[in-house]
Symmetry: C2
Subunit: 346 residues, 2 copies
């Protein structure tokens, strides 16, 4: 990076005894990036355009500082930006493929199965008989939106490696069933979006506990405007009523209740004229609401065939976590309804 306390480039140059020079092409690209953002480049940023003879620049389309890929004496040094989202992207798109190329004696094929509704240790316990396999290898990773099961095989050809991975994938899917919602870069939002788009169906949501995060997750997917009609963030009881939730329902059962979640799903579906409507209400915290504990969640999905409901994942930590888990549960409930693995009550 450009900041004074970042001496990675200087250290590498000194180690290799090579001199850092500003690369004219990198400098021009950097100035264009700043111009594109209608900003003047601070002069110290020119440091980000430096190279040494053994270094190639690694692309960084989401930031200003390119990385360094240094090869000398059969050894490799990689320098990446410290901003996490820039580093993750550079690792995945630039560094990993180059490293894979360097792995001699075979071709690596990898597939990630994305799992919802169980924790990492439960997934690993269920896959106990497979987890010590060596080719393909299996590894689990806890992500914020899912548990990932990564299957990798190395064979002499890509076809052979892929076949190993697919054979293992079948075994894993046999065990985990519909907990597997997608592969590789799939998200619950993208899976739900693809299903709706394929059927030419539409969706509207009315949310309170999640405060807009459910709508936001649904609109993180490109092309979402073709199936997502809109969302109502009814953070006050008054607003729930203005948007069509009967006052009697809220008065009788409380704003945090299955009945109110059902009324929300029904009201938004009717008001926006969508195929499906989701209603979601609960207690985000930190305090009780209507005497109900933090983490209480009620979700309802109404579609042409009827309604399905869920209580969410139970107790969790802070507001952001409660919101996030409630969103994942709602998306998963809609997915299960669309895939036919939960059956609505007429």
């Amino acid at each position: 990076g450009p900041t004074e306390d970042d001496l990675a480039r200087e250290s590498i140059s000194e180690l290799l005894g090579e001199e850092m020079r500003v690369d004219p092409q990198l400098e021009q690209e950097l100035r264009e990036k700043f111009a594109h953002m209608s900003m003047t480049m601070p002069e110290r940023n020119v440091k980000q355009a430096t190279l040494i003879p053994s270094a190639q620049a690694l692309l960084n389309p989401v930031g200003t500082a390119p990385g360094w890929w240094v090869e000398k004496d059969n050894r490799i040094i990689v320098a990446m930006p410290g901003v996490p989202r820039e580093m993750y992207r550079m690792w995945e798109n630039e560094v990993q493929p180059r490293l894979t190329d360097r792995v001699g004696g075979g071709v690596l094929f990898t597939r990630i199965l994305r799992v919802t509704g169980m924790g990492e240790s439960t997934v690993e316990e269920q896959l106990d008989g497979l987890i010590h396999s060596t080719n393909p290898t299996l590894a689990t990773y806890a992500k914020t939106d899912a548990v990932d099961v990564r299957i990798s095989a190395k064979m002499t050809t890509e076809e052979e490696a892929e076949k190993q991975v697919v054979d293992m994938e079948v075994k894993v899917r046999d065990i985990l069933g519909s907990h597997v919602f997608g592969i590789d870069s799939d998200t619950l939002s993208s899976v739900v979006g693809d299903l709706l788009q394929a059927r030419n169906q539409t969706l509207g949501v009315m949310e309170s506990i999640t405060g807009g995060l459910l709508s936001s997750a649904l609109t993180d997917v490109k092309g979402s405007s073709s199936h997502f009609i809109g969302g109502l963030v009814t953070y006050s009881t008054d607003m729930k009523e203005w948007m069509g939730v009967p006052k009697e329902t809220v008065d009788r059962y409380g704003a945090v209740s299955e009945q109110t979640a059902r009324a929300m799903a029904h009201a938004v579906r009717e008001r926006l004229g969508t195929t499906f409507g989701i209603g979601i209400t609960g207690v985000a915290g930190p305090g009780l609401q209507e005497g109900k504990p933090v983490g209480t969640v009620h979700i309802a999905v109404e579609g042409p065939e009827g309604v399905v409901t869920s209580k969410g994942p139970g107790w969790r930590g802070n507001r952001q976590d409660n919101k996030r888990y409630a969103v994942l549960t709602a998306l998963n409930l809609l997915r299960q309804l669309l895939e036919g693995t939960v059956i609505p009550e007429g």
Copy 2:
């Protein structure tokens, strides 16, 4: 963690020649955590309840695995869970305070100034004369929602250390002005929320490009239900019109235009009866919309004294980034209006 490939505890035990044993109290707490989530604890998780004689457990309220604080022969080893949000929290709440206690010969005082509307390298360039200071020290950090300027001083008493930090804070604020929006754990949402709450004022938003993320950011703050009345995620033009945006405005200027942003702010403020209304529209990508490029954003905030507008930060990368930067710009515009650093047109 409980997974088989995580051998941190085993390695530490072997290094110190001490035996891992299940601690009965930790085991009971762990089983209660799972019971609280209405889950049965997978038996392999009992590993998370182990200790060695030199280890103390570090609390992990947001996950199941406690950390280890190991002290032996005047050396310290710390083991933390690999899940980032668990690790960050444990580092801040458990590890850092213990390390600070161990730093002999003085008391450390730290304050973070949170900066919006400029990049990290611009902040550092502006603070050039101060950045080489040694006590207090100054360091900048690029976060996803701000640039942090961290000021730390070590003196014999806390009062002296705090005075050093506050003197430096005055100098930094003189240079960065109203770009500094808060300190320590403040966010733009919490600052805006506090201002609204103190004045007994309310807010409603109508958003399209940000797809619910603006509402979600506002509701990440506890107590937000007292000032945030609700949000309308008008992802389709039809929905904008149902919610009170005049069809003529959209037809004439386009859904992505300053005029439509103004009409959205006006409509939500009127419909929800709030003190302030925010309207935000734009092109999230990946394609053009109405011939306007990805990253185009129009924001309007309407209040009792009139309207202020902003065009957002200009070009950015993917959908999520475009949404995030648009949200930060909208929150900052409202903050500036509330603090009187931008003046509305009547």
